[in-house]
């Protein structure tokens, strides 16, 4: 590409987004907020896949894995939000601290 952008730039960007996603998952008590953090984490993984695919010689394997990750992220979001709505119907809140019926 020239222009002075190297693989490290993309990897560090991916690390930053991953860290923010982990931070979101760790600190949020809103179940939808936790799902947003997971989306950020999956996006950072995809950046890694595409960066290695591009700088590794232009094969398509990395891009295909990224498409599979996007597909699984869509399925995960659908199921996750369905579970969140089911929790909301039962508990009238989506605060994950309030839904601790199973904890002894």
């Amino acid at each position: 590409m020239g222009g002075g952008i190297t693989l490290d730039h993309f990897l560090v960007l991916s690390i930053i987004i991953f860290s923010l996603g982990i931070f979101t998952v760790l600190t949020r008590r809103n179940a939808i907020g936790i799902l947003m953090g997971i989306e950020l984490i999956l996006n950072s993984a995809n950046i890694n896949y595409l960066a290695f695919a591009f700088y590794g010689g232009g094969k398509y394997d990395g891009q295909i894995f990224a498409i599979f990750v996007i597909m699984l992220a869509a399925a995960e979001a659908v199921i996750g939000l369905a579970i969140v709505l089911a929790i909301y119907q039962n508990f009238k809140t989506i605060d994950v601290d309030a839904t601790e019926t199973l904890s002894g």
């Binding site: 020239g2 222009g3 490290d8 923010l20 595409l50 398509y60 498409i67 369905a82 709505l85």
Partner: protein, 165 residues
């Protein structure tokens, strides 16, 4: 130089939006900031010569997952109450954990001499991806359709409001 400027602009958009997702007091603001993060990632993909993946990201994430998330946020009550909508706990320990992990990862990335290919082509990718999906990756491709079907049925079963007794 132009590519560098574009990269830093996209990185600033993505990281800024992700920061807002992580730190905003209001879950609605977090959801809309997620739009900026996804759009920035789309730009990063285009910069990495992955045109097809970028468009898939645009369609699936921005057109599907984000709209679904906004629906879920709006369907659950209490979003107007800022103090309960996006409560955050354990911020200090989370910062320490994430900081240590991130600095370790950055150190590892900087220290590793990555193998890099010589030809950085920016050709269209749809032809190769289509061939790979119907060639080497045809089994995962078909299994993916089963996974999506299972997710579809599972979401309906889980979220259906059933009158018990």
């Amino acid at each position: 130089m132009l590519a560098q400027a574009i990269f830093y602009a996209l990185a600033a958009l993505t990281v800024g939006s992700a920061l807002m997702v992580a730190l905003s007091r209001n879950i609605v603001y977090s959801t809309f900031a997620l739009l900026g993060a996804f759009m920035g990632v789309v730009g990063i993909y285009i910069l990495l010569a992955a045109d097809f993946v970028a468009m898939v990201q645009l369609l699936v994430y921005v057109g599907g997952i984000l709209v679904l998330t906004i629906f879920a946020v709006m369907l659950t009550a209490g979003i107007g109450d800022v103090t309960v909508s996006n409560r955050a706990v354990g911020t200090g320990s989370a910062i320490v954990t994430v900081g240590v992990a991130a600095s370790l990862m950055v150190y590892a990335v900087m220290r590793t001499p990555w193998h890099q290919g010589t030809s950085l082509t920016t050709a269209p990718t749809t032809y190769g991806i289509g061939n790979a999906f119907l060639g080497d990756y045809v089994l995962p491709f078909e299994v993916a359709s089963l996974v999506l079907l299972a997710a579809l049925i599972g979401a309906i079963v889980i979220s259906r409001h059933e009158a018990k007794e």
